[in-house]
Point group: C2
Chain length 103, copies 2
DNA sequence: CGGGATCCCCATTGATACTG
DNA sequence: CAGTATCAATGGGGATCCCG
């Protein structure tokens, strides 16, 4: 019971799951790419959420020495371990949509 | 990607997962019991979240003809199908706690 | 017991503009 | 490009009281 909350504390906020999904799908992803992937998110929110994910060691941030600057985000091993959950959530979402559609 | 959001739309709010976990664990659970299970939730929020879960057909509400009234909450088959996800989240939460503790 | 109604606040989010 | 800064608004959520 407590453990579920520990998990949700890390995945709190409106966008965390979607952000992780995006990075997870593409392995490596840039700031502006994620901004496009996640529908409706603002740069401010993305910045904030990514920072939190980094603190919780789910995401690794890498600055590439290009002009202009490129920043890569990728999942850490720990973040990567959420893959199963993401998949389950996705599958459930699909099933749920069917369910609601039928009724 | 969209599907993950469909799922999270249903599980939104601060308390949904915890509430489902509570009911899931006990199979049937009363309002005041859930109120105790979920640490920090207010009756207003519990009431509201349960209503939403009912609308999304994850939870079934049954009023028992006692004095005073007893209300049972249980998961529908659809709600029950979240069991795997709950378990995954729980396990991940435990692992995460270890991880953070080490660092 | 299981909520509903009210009041109220502040944290989260949005929109926009700006910068290295 | 990858953010930061600032201002403003909304609604999530707490506290309390009430009711059948």
């Amino acid at each position: 019971m407590r453990a579920v909350q520990d998990c949700m504390d890390v995945l709190n906020g409106k966008w965390k799951i979607a952000i992780i999904s995006s990075i997870c799908y593409y392995s490596k992803r840039r700031f502006s790419d994620i901004l496009n992937d996640v529908d409706g998110i603002s740069n401010k929110m993305l910045s904030k959420e990514l920072k939190e994910l980094e603190i919780n060691q789910l995401v690794k941030r890498t600055v590439l020495d290009t002009q202009p600057v490129t920043v890569q985000y990728e999942l850490t091993d720990h973040g990567w371990s959420l893959r199963t959950i993401i998949e389950n959530l996705t599958n459930w979402g699909i099933e749920h949509r069917k369910k609601i559609f039928e009724s």
